[in-house]
């Protein structure tokens, strides 16, 4: 069993998602439970894989589909880095799938089934993108992720159709650019397998075609991960997406493309050639731009969700900056920030989902008295906010630490300045919320779903909220273990020499 764990991560949610409608037809909630169970199993498989990889000292596990050997066959390659991301994504997916239950409580079977089908497929797409060792297979999973993402965003209500359509248009351009880039690479090397590609790309790195391919890939992934200035679709998409799934969309959907980018940059193309070095510089500049513009835009927002969406642009900028530093600490910072940001952004959107569920409005200046009504949400919100600002002992501080170390080591002192400015801007807009909650008079908001018990929210929503709040603390506490025990085992070759 254990040797098949890598494929189960993707296969189980895929099967469940495809059967979901059928089961929902039989009994309204059965499909939903099936998907949740499959995601739980997927999480278990991901943990198994992570254990195996770490036990093997970081040696990657290659899983070939149907016994077809690469480079002809498709393979999943699981190294420490992507196994930990798989655990992260399936973990958040599980929490959010559980969390979505109250939102679809009053819907008919078609909507429940449809919601969970899309949700399962989104998980499949994200996990597949991260696990695969084949560049074309990555494209397939990218499209699965995108299409199910469009669907989930469109489910959000009136304005969400437009947001989803816009994302569809822009996202398709991104995906097409990726496909173009893959086409160029295939034309140069004749292979689609990542390991093979890494071995064969060497002679071509000075050709203009290579530069073209790199450009296409960066723009393609840049669109998908909402890297400044390619983030135009993202604020609307996050704001209007289905409130039950927003946490998953906002937390994870940008991470898989970001990881794919890291994989291309550090594991396939390597960073020690002129094209990649200038590409890194460009990524760095975009990252800096995102950090500043995203933070300033977030300051100007009045809708909590839009504010977080722009803050995501800024946080993706952190990751891009870490990637661009091209040294070990920058790389560690970027990866750790991917993990941290996924958790804290999901946490914040879970909180928002709770507010939407209870009151139907998420206006920034109508949060007064939330600390009394939604205590668990408030605690999670405060922890996540501190983490976003980057204050110890929460998780966000530690990724900032590595990013700063990377900036100093690579002598990009400018990056340090930007990190400081961005943290301070983060502090402004998050403390504004904390002030609102604790100081302002109680906002008179009509309850859409009236007070439910002591928690203020139904149990399936309260538990993920509490879990994610604790996770922010634990990630901070165990960040050194994650780095020493996992990430450092999977460092790209460039840093090992």
């Amino acid at each position: 069993m254990s040797q098949h764990a890598p494929i189960f991560i993707v296969l189980l949610p895929l099967t469940a998602a495809l059967l979901c409608m059928l089961f929902s037809r039989m009994s309204r909630n059965l499909g939903a439970y099936l998907v949740i169970a499959s995601i739980a199993a997927s999480l278990a498989s991901a943990i198994t894989v992570l254990n195996n990889v770490v036990a093997a000292g970081g040696k990657a596990i290659h899983y070939t589909m149907g016994g077809w050997m690469p480079p002809i066959g498709i393979e999943f390659v699981l190294d420490p880095l992507n196994s930990v991301l798989l655990v992260l994504i399936t973990f958040i997916s599980l929490l959010v799938s559980f969390y979505g239950l109250p939102f679809v409580k009053d819907e008919d079977w078609l909507h429940v089934g449809g919601y969970y089908t899309l949700f399962g497929l989104l998980t499949v797409g994200l996990c597949g993108m991260i696990a695969t060792g084949d560049v074309f297979n990555l494209y397939v999973f990218l499209e699965i992720m995108s299409l199910s993402g469009y669907g989930l965003i469109a489910l959000g209500g009136k304005k969400s159709m437009l947001a989803a359509f816009r994302y569809l248009l822009i996202g398709t351009i991104g995906a097409s650019l990726y496909l173009l880039g893959v086409g160029y690479l295939y034309a140069m090397t004749g292979t689609l397998n990542m390991a093979d590609l890494a071995a064969l790309i060497g002679p071509h790195i000075h050709s203009p075609l290579f530069a073209m391919a790199v450009g296409c890939l960066i723009i393609g992934f840049g669109i998908k991960m909402a890297l400044f200035p390619l983030h135009g679709w993202q604020p609307d998409a996050y704001t209007f997406s289905h409130p039950g799934a927003a946490a998953f969309i906002a937390g994870c959907m940008s991470k898989a493309p970001a990881y794919a980018m890291i994989r291309f940059v550090y594991y396939i193309f390597q960073v020690n050639n002129p094209v990649m070095r200038s590409a890194l510089d460009i990524i760095g500049i975009l990252g800096v731009g995102g950090m500043l513009i995203g933070s300033f835009m977030a300051l100007a927002m009045r809708d909590f969700r839009r504010m977080l969406a722009y803050s995501s642009v800024a946080q993706i900028g952190y990751i891009a900056m870490g990637v661009a530093m091209g040294n070990m600490y920058g790389f560690i910072g970027a990866v750790l920030h991917m993990i941290n940001h996924a958790i804290m952004k999901s946490g914040l959107f879970l909180v928002i989902g709770g507010i939407v569920y209870r009151f139907g409005v998420v206006h920034l200046y109508r949060l007064g008295g939330m600390n009394k009504k939604l205590t668990i949400s408030t605690i999670t919100l405060v922890l996540c906010a501190l983490s976003m600002i980057g204050l110890p002992p929460t998780a966000g501080f530690f990724s900032k630490w590595y990013l700063m170390m990377g900036a100093w080591t690579s002598q990009n002192y400018f990056y340090m300045v930007v990190l400081v400015i961005s943290s301070l801007l983060n502090a402004i807009y998050f403390f504004r919320i904390i002030e609102q909650m604790f100081v302002q008079r109680e906002a008179s908001l009509p309850d859409v779903h009236p007070h439910e018990g002591k928690l203020g929210l139904p149990v399936p929503m309260a538990i993920p909220l509490a879990v994610i709040g604790l996770t922010v603390l634990f990630l901070g506490w165990y960040s050194a273990d994650i780095i020493n025990g996992i990430i450092k085992l999977g460092l790209p070759e460039v840093f090992l020499r």
């Binding site: 560690i332 501190l386 600002i389 204050l391 110890p392 002992p393 501080f397 530690f398 900032k400 630490w401 590595y402 700063m404 170390m405 900036a407 100093w408 080591t409 340090m416 400081v420 943290s423 301070l424 502090a427 403390f431 002030e435 604790f438 100081v439 506490w477 165990y478 960040s479 050194a480 273990d481 780095i483 020493n484 450092k488």
Partner: protein
């Protein structure tokens, strides 16, 4: 001898646990405050149990986990840290009872949050006192900012809101600068464990880089130490309840600031390197200027707490100036004044709080004749005021004596004059309060109402006053602050005789 011992973490953890217990005891005020009191006593006990070992030269150290891939989350006791740890935990015990009395007398809202945040602050202070390396220090430094923020915001009105914003702006910006400094120090030195005499040396980086790092780090410390012109938050933060002003804004938070200045000067850069890179004079000038200017401002303040706040700003700069003179006696005087000022200023603030609670008067010009109504309080206030002014046989004198000799030892006698001037000014702004209380009678008989008397508030005041006098007469009385300061100064200046002393 180095002993692996978890007691430093227990001292931090006991208040952390207390904070959690307090949050869950919202409905039972007595239980809630009992947690706080029990924690304060336990904490003081834990710290005291390590004192004999530290005096004998032992080092208790413990690494709880790794903070980053290479840096541990480590606490360690050394004489310098022990001074601060003993001081803060010792003063927290009476403060706790005073808090209970004050909060109940004034019927303040949100008392649960108040006690929880207070306990959390004390955890952070213990961590700061005993941190083994810069990163651990920074973690607690930021925790202190976060934990004291709700206390400044306690009143939840517009004034408190703007004060708390100001507080955050100052402390968060300085925290981020400090972080940059820490990263830089770690990258050039490869270590960040505090070492007496400093672990940086001039071979590690160009001179201007060292200077820049020093400026960054000292700026961060100076904000919390309220060195002018970075003092703006402290008078604003006086909006907080008086026990907060007393313990945090006269003892814990601002002392964290001066303590970090002392750590940076004595344990990161070291006197030798600082003398080489030739930048420390700016700190001395800023501190000297602060002492005089803040005293002059204090003269003009009518609001009692604000006057004490500006007095605090001036007194803190004594410590910063002492540290920046880099001579053994001055550094010893700095550590002594850290203790002396804490004991005296907590007394003054507690008196102010009692006056506010009982008479509801905030301004000095309204304190007609309260000496007759509150004889004990005003007696304590007078003693502490004299101590701040540097009268012999009160604790303030001992430290100032050492500081003055330190200035002579460093060959900068001009600073002796600054100290004398500042002491005279201190007398000039504090003694009129006593004069008002004792010798003026209320012309309009306007102020007749007096609030309820509370022994919970009065007894702590007497205790700290007795401490101030005892420490003034017998400086090395238990818990041996004098010896600890001596040890700290000796280790910092060990092996450096460039100033011509042994």
């Amino acid at each position: 001898m180095t002993i692996v011992d978890a007691r430093p973490f227990l001292a931090v953890g006991v208040t952390l646990v207390a904070a959690i217990l307090i949050s869950f005891s919202r409905r039972w005020p007595n239980v809630r405050e009992a947690w706080s009191a029990i924690a304060s006593v336990i904490k003081f006990g834990i710290i005291l149990s390590m004192l004999p070992g530290v005096l004998a030269g032992d080092v208790y150290t413990y690494t709880l986990c790794q903070l980053t891939d290479t840096v541990g989350f480590t606490l360690r006791t050394d004489p310098a840290g022990m001074i601060f740890a003993v001081l803060a935990s010792m003063l927290w015990v009476p403060m706790n009872f005073y808090s209970i009395g004050y909060m109940r007398c004034n019927q303040e809202r949100e008392q649960t949050g108040y006690f929880a945040a207070f306990a959390l602050c004390m955890s952070a202070v213990m961590g700061i006192a005993m941190a083994e390396n810069l990163l651990t220090f920074f973690v607690f430094y930021e925790l202190l900012t976060l934990a004291s923020y709700p206390l400044v915001l306690h009143k939840r009105n517009q004034d408190a809101l703007s004060a708390s914003r100001k507080y955050l702006i100052y402390t968060l910006i300085s925290g981020q600068l400090f972080l940059v400094g820490i990263v830089a120090v770690y990258c050039i030195a490869g270590t960040m464990s505090f070492t007496p005499g400093g672990f940086l040396n001039s071979g590690m980086a160009p001179r201007w880089v060292l200077q820049a790092i020093f400026v960054l780090m000292i700026l961060a410390g100076s904000v919390k130490a309220a060195v002018m012109p970075l003092h703006g938050w402290l008078p604003a933060a006086m909006i907080a309840p008086t026990p907060v002003s007393a313990l945090l804004h006269a003892v814990a938070v601002v002392k964290t600031g001066v303590f970090s200045v002392l750590r940076i000067i004595g344990f990161v850069f070291g006197p030798q390197l600082l003398a080489e890179i030739n930048i420390i004079d700016f700190v001395s000038w800023a501190a000297a200027g602060t002492m005089l200017v803040s005293s002059l401002i204090a003269l003009r303040q009518d609001h009692l707490k604000r006057r004490l706040a500006f007095s605090t700003i001036g007194q803190l700069s004594y410590i910063v100036l002492g540290a920046s003179l880099l001579s053994p006696l001055a550094i010893k005087g700095a550590y002594l004044h850290l203790v002396a000022h804490a004991v005296m200023k907590i007394t003054l603030f507690m008196c102010a709080g009692l006056i506010i609670a009982r008479t509801h008067r905030n301004n000095i010009s309204e304190l007609y004749g309260i000496g007759k109504k509150l004889p004990v309080t005003m007696a304590c206030f007078t003693i502490a005021s004299l101590g701040i002014a540097g009268v012999p046989f009160i604790v303030g004198f001992v430290s100032k004596w050492n500081l003055a000799f330190g200035a002579l030892q460093a060959g900068k006698p001009i600073y002796v004059l600054v100290w004398v001037a500042s002491a005279i000014l201190a007398a000039a702004y504090l003694l009129p309060v006593c004069q008002m209380a004792y010798f003026r009678s209320d012309p309009e008989e306007k102020f007749r109402k007096y609030g309820a008397h509370s022994n919970a508030m009065l007894i702590p005041i007497c205790i700290t006053t007795i401490m101030a006098v005892l420490l003034g007469i017998v400086p090395d009385i238990f818990p041996h602050f004098y010896e600890l300061s001596n040890m700290a100064a000796r280790t910092i200046c060990a092996g450096w005789t460039a100033g011509g002393w042994q």
